[in-house]
């Protein structure tokens, strides 16, 4: 999850998010160098004693400041497109989960093998235990096996919502009457937090998402327990 006053990305928990972080670093370095160049040019222009009011054209610099930005854009676009197509790959998921957005909670359905479904409500602040995170904890987490490709089908029951987990690099709109598909693999076990990312009413800020990645045998135990409780 994010720490207080965090501006940057959270640590990556999936290969796609790792690629996004690397692309971000690459692009940020380019932006930093361009900003430094502009700053230097501004200082040079302000402090120069040279004045020539009659410069009309100069072919050399026109060529430079046409070709250079084009090359920079290509340098940014190629990795960007690579990641764009990488994010669309669905590689034989082991599990399919349906995430349905409601006002104002999420519900998850694991219907591959048994009929398992449950709602996931935010834990109110006054009911939090010490160490839990305000506005982020839920009563039931979406538990998944680690290192397994997971397909998530996102939809909504009433209004627009959006299922987002930043550390997995996922954000998918939940549209009533439409099934949106996304897939991911968690690289490590852990608990990953997200929040609804499409305005959906009064409690839009109070319907978080919690994904818990656990080893396979723990996932099997959890699903057995959940089926017994149902």
């Amino acid at each position: 999850m994010a720490h207080p006053s965090q501006l940057g990305f959270q640590d990556a928990a999936s290969p796609v998010m790792e690629e996004l972080l690397h692309f971000h670093d690459h692009t940020l370095m380019i932006v930093f160098l361009i900003s430094t160049l502009v700053l230097y040019i501004i200082v040079a222009m302000v402090t120069t004693k040279l004045t020539n009011k009659f410069i009309l054209d100069s072919q050399e610099i026109e060529i430079i400041w046409t070709l250079l930005p084009a090359m920079i854009l290509i340098l940014i676009a190629l990795p960007s497109l690579r990641i764009l197509y990488l994010m669309d790959e669905i590689n034989d998921p082991h599990l399919t989960i349906k995430a349905m957005g409601h006002q104002w909670y999420w519900s998850y359905e694991y219907t591959d093998y048994e009929d398992l479904g449950f709602d996931s409500y935010m834990v109110p602040t006054q009911d939090l235990n010490p160490g839990q995170f305000r506005l982020l904890e839920t009563d039931h987490r979406m538990v998944i096996p680690v290192d397994s490709p997971i397909r998530v089908l996102v939809s909504a029951d009433d209004v627009l919502h959006s299922w987002a987990v930043p550390s997995l690099g996922i954000k998918m709109d939940a549209v009533p009457g439409r099934l949106n598909q996304t897939a991911f693999i968690t690289s490590r076990p852990g608990v990953f937090y997200g929040q609804c990312s499409e305005i959906c009413g009064a409690n839009h800020s109070f319907m978080p998402i919690v994904v818990e990645a656990v080893p396979l045998e723990h996932f099997e135990n959890w699903s057995s327990l959940m089926l017994e409780d149902a």
């Binding site: 900003s35 006054q126 608990v191 818990e212 959890w222």
Partner: protein, 148 residues
């Protein structure tokens, strides 16, 4: 009133006995006052580039600074033109930073690919160990030879 910032080690994990992962770095531990003070806050050049946390950034900027000083000094020693030396120094900074950055990132990317191949190999080894698909299985010397 609940003091949410006072206690918080990684106690959230206690709710889930199945969970093995502990988030050690700047995730939830930053909420505990002592640990947040002990961590590096990260130094951001121009307010945007965190040179401490971005891989290869620190080396690239340091190489760029060195290249800038070297190029500027050499040009000044050769021509004694101050203003143009600054321009040459700045150009040296840009080129050296870019060169160092891309060289480091390409090596980093190759390492990541190798890491993934090794991880996949380790995972497959565990799955295939003891079966006919195990790549470490030595052929049986007493077994009859295959068809010609």
């Amino acid at each position: 009133m609940r003091k949410s910032s006072a206690v918080t080690k990684i106690a959230v994990q206690a709710d889930s006995p199945k969970l093995n992962y502990k988030e050690k770095d700047r995730g939830c531990t930053a909420m505990a006052g002592e640990e947040a003070a002990g961590q590096n806050k990260g130094f951001k050049l121009l307010g945007i580039l965190d040179v401490q946390r971005t891989p290869c950034a620190r080396e690239a900027i340091l190489h760029g600074a060195g290249g800038s000083v070297a190029a500027g000094m050499l040009y000044f020693l050769a021509t004694s033109r101050v203003r143009r030396s600054f321009d040459v120094g700045f150009a040296g900074f840009m080129l050296t930073t870019l060169g160092s950055w891309f060289y480091c990132r390409i090596n980093n990317a190759k390492l990541r690919v190798q890491q993934r191949v090794i991880q996949e190999g380790m995972r497959n080894k565990v799955i295939y160990e003891g079966t006919v698909l195990d790549p470490t299985n030595k052929p049986n010397a007493d077994a009859p030879p295959g068809p010609p």
